[in-house]
């Protein structure tokens, strides 16, 4: 090994190692040289950071290679790359959250944002608020309501089908041809692009009720196509980890299979199932494309999922950005869109949090 150049005085276990200050020295060199290099191409903080990171890695790895040998140098390079990847990934993700928070609070803080719809809000009002600085009118009440109703119906459709299917796969299928077929097609369903799910629901209802049938229920059907495989997968996983001993214990007491499933197997797995369902809801609540092609977009409050177009938070964001209410003054629309985005993200985060809490607190107790 290259690094064994020790003198007789040192023990066989000691090797040449970088001094402790090495990493800080490399940081300083990186920052200084990075600043110099970035000035050459026109200074900005982003360029400085990039150059500093490159210089730091080069200096640190090369130094290690000289003192510690190539194996240690490779290890340090890998560490630098891994940490670097993490920082690179963090930047855009923080930027997304930051943008939504900063832009969204403006919209959300506007009085009436959560309690009014876009009914009657047109380019005229937006132009006025842009030129006179008056408060931006219009809100997301109709979209919030639409999102809740559509997601609720999607859940009502998906959960029984998904849960019963997973029960079939785990308790009755026994790996027969039908259950293998279902497993395969559930996998296929997982890969269906969301817009194709929307097209399916649109095509289905167009064939039955005539072209242009767009209602909240069609959207719920489209979301169900996306939600069912998620529910099946997570429930199946949860049912499979219920120990077989519990089923046998129940059978040995003379309990029928369906009662065993309903009263022993499902209660044992219920926290995992509930958590999986919550995550599935979180996944579909932000879907835009399928709702766009199935429920259209409305500006009025519509509480009937079986008739007329319906708005939802994601489609509201989409249309407000792409087709601002006032094309000449898009700022009020953007403000509403960001406000809606913030509300949507809060919904998703709450659902994720709830899923975790459910999984943790409703798990079978072992309390000793």
């Amino acid at each position: 090994m290259a690094s064994i150049t020790t003198t007789a005085r040192r023990s066989a276990l000691t090797r040449n190692r970088l001094p402790r200050y090495a990493i800080w020295a490399a940081v300083v060199v990186g920052l200084v040289l990075g600043a110099a290099l970035s000035t050459l191409v026109g200074f900005n903080p982003f360029g400085w950071g990039v150059f500093a990171a490159i210089v730091f890695t080069a200096v640190y790895v090369a130094w290690s290679g000289v003192v510690e040998g190539s194996r240690k140098a490779k290890d340090k390079l890998a560490t630098c790359l891994v940490v670097g990847a993490f920082l690179v990934a963090l930047l855009p993700l923080i930027s997304v959250i930051w943008t939504v928070l900063v832009e969204g609070t403006k919209g959300l803080a506007t009085p009436g944002f959560l309690t009014t719809s876009m009914n009657g809000v047109s380019g005229i009002q937006d132009n006025e608020s842009a030129s006179d600085g008056t408060k931006v009118l219009g809100g997301i009440y109709h979209s919030l309501l639409g999102t809740l109703l559509i997601t609720l119906w999607a859940t009502i459709i998906s959960v029984p089908i998904g849960l019963l299917t997973s029960v079939y796969l785990v308790e009755y299928g026994n790996g027969n041809r039908l259950s293998r077929g279902i497993t395969f097609f559930v996998d296929v369903m997982t890969g269906i692009p969301s817009i194709v799910a929307g097209l399916f629901a649109a095509a289905l209802f167009a064939t039955i009720f005539g072209p242009g049938t767009k209602t909240g229920f069609v959207a719920a059907v489209a979301l169900s196509v996306l939600m069912i495989p998620v529910v099946v997968r997570s429930s199946e996983e949860m049912l499979r980890i219920v120990p077989n001993e519990l089923r046998e214990a129940s059978y040995a007491l003379g309990v029928r299979k369906w009662r065993t499933i309903l009263k022993v197997v499902i209660p044992t797995a219920i926290s995992g199932i509930a958590s999986g369902v919550t995550l599935a809801i979180a996944r579909v609540i932000g879907e835009t494309a399928p709702i766009l092609v199935t429920a259209g977009f409305a500006t009025k409050i519509n509480t009937n999922v079986f008739a007329d177009w319906m708005s939802s938070l994601p489609t509201f964001i989409y249309t407000q950005i792409l087709n601002p209410t006032s094309p000449s003054n898009p700022d009020p629309s953007l403000q509403r869109a960001w406000g809606a985005a913030l509300v949507l993200i809060i919904c998703v985060m709450i659902l994720n949090l709830v899923a975790r809490l459910v999984a943790r607190f409703f798990a079978p107790k072992t309390g000793r």
């Binding site: 129940s250 007491l253 003379g254 309990v255 029928r256 209660p267 079978p364 107790k365």
Partner: protein, 259 residues
């Protein structure tokens, strides 16, 4: 409510594989019978045919007769679920229902079947079953705590309480002490001795000392080789099996020369 078991020419299959062949055995009421034998000899498989639990596995079937006081468990029109209320079972690893309290675990056989039971009857049943399993004094103050919070030996006695709450005629035990420490094992063995007064007890065990300690009669099962069916080699009073076996294979096994 104890009943005798008579098995006539029983073959057990998994699919096309013959697992146990030609078993004839008569088990008296109010006795403890131990099944011993090397791993894979079919003694657990045979035990599970005595309350039709083997049918839980796909492809398992039997030929022959198992008579419970003269009624064939495999006769036409017999419901396997009803059979299991007559022949209870305790498993290798204690398996109380984790979602239920100690009380609900004891009442599981009643409640899971959706039977109505008055509160006072339920309390009586819980107490009598737990007393029957020598567990009452240890858990009477925490009946509403989860059953999975008990120690392994207590859990196993809870499972026995759960089994006797259904009021079976026969209790099958599949290596009930193999997951327990010696003290808990002793408690279960004492309990088996007491259960004998009211139930027919059949126990599968790997522990020959245990068989010698608890059983009145012992059945030795053996297997000729891998892929061959298991067979009942010798069935006699326990003292005879351990002191004066008639078959060479039994002698080899109980004396520790093989298995």
């Amino acid at each position: 409510m104890s009943k005798r078991i008579d098995v006539k020419d029983l073959n057990v299959y998994y699919g096309n594989f013959l697992a146990v062949e030609g078993v004839n055995i008569n088990i008296a009421a109010r006795s403890v019978t131990a099944f011993i034998g090397p791993s894979g000899c079919g003694k657990s498989t045979f035990l599970r045919t005595l309350n039709r639990m083997h049918e839980v596995l796909p492809g398992a079937r039997v030929e022959g007769e198992v008579l419970l006081d003269g009624d064939d468990l495999y006769g036409s029109g017999v419901d396997p679920v009803a059979v299991r209320t007559h022949v209870g079972m305790v498993f290798q690893r204690p398996n109380p229902f984790p979602t239920m309290s100690i009380r609900d675990n004891v009442l599981a056989g009643v409640k899971l079947n959706g039977k109505r039971i008055s509160k006072s009857d339920a309390e009586g049943l819980v107490e009598s079953s737990l007393r029957g399993a020598n567990l009452w004094n240890e858990v009477k103050d925490r009946l509403d705590k989860p059953g999975s919070g008990l120690s392994g030996g207590q859990q196993q006695r809870l499972c026995i309480a759960r089994a006797i709450a259904v009021k079976p005629d026969v209790i099958l035990m599949d290596e009930p002490c193999s997951a327990l420490d010696p003290i808990s094992t002793l408690a279960i063995e004492d309990l088996i001795e007491e259960l004998k007064a009211n139930y027919t007890v059949v126990i599968v065990t790997h522990n020959m000392q245990q068989a010698a300690r608890v059983s009145d009669k012992t059945a030795f099962f053996n297997i000729a080789g891998t892929g061959k069916p298991g067979k009942l080699i010798e069935y006699a009073a326990t003292t005879e099996i351990f002191n004066n076996p008639k078959v060479k294979a039994t002698e080899d096994y109980v004396s520790g020369r093989f298995g």
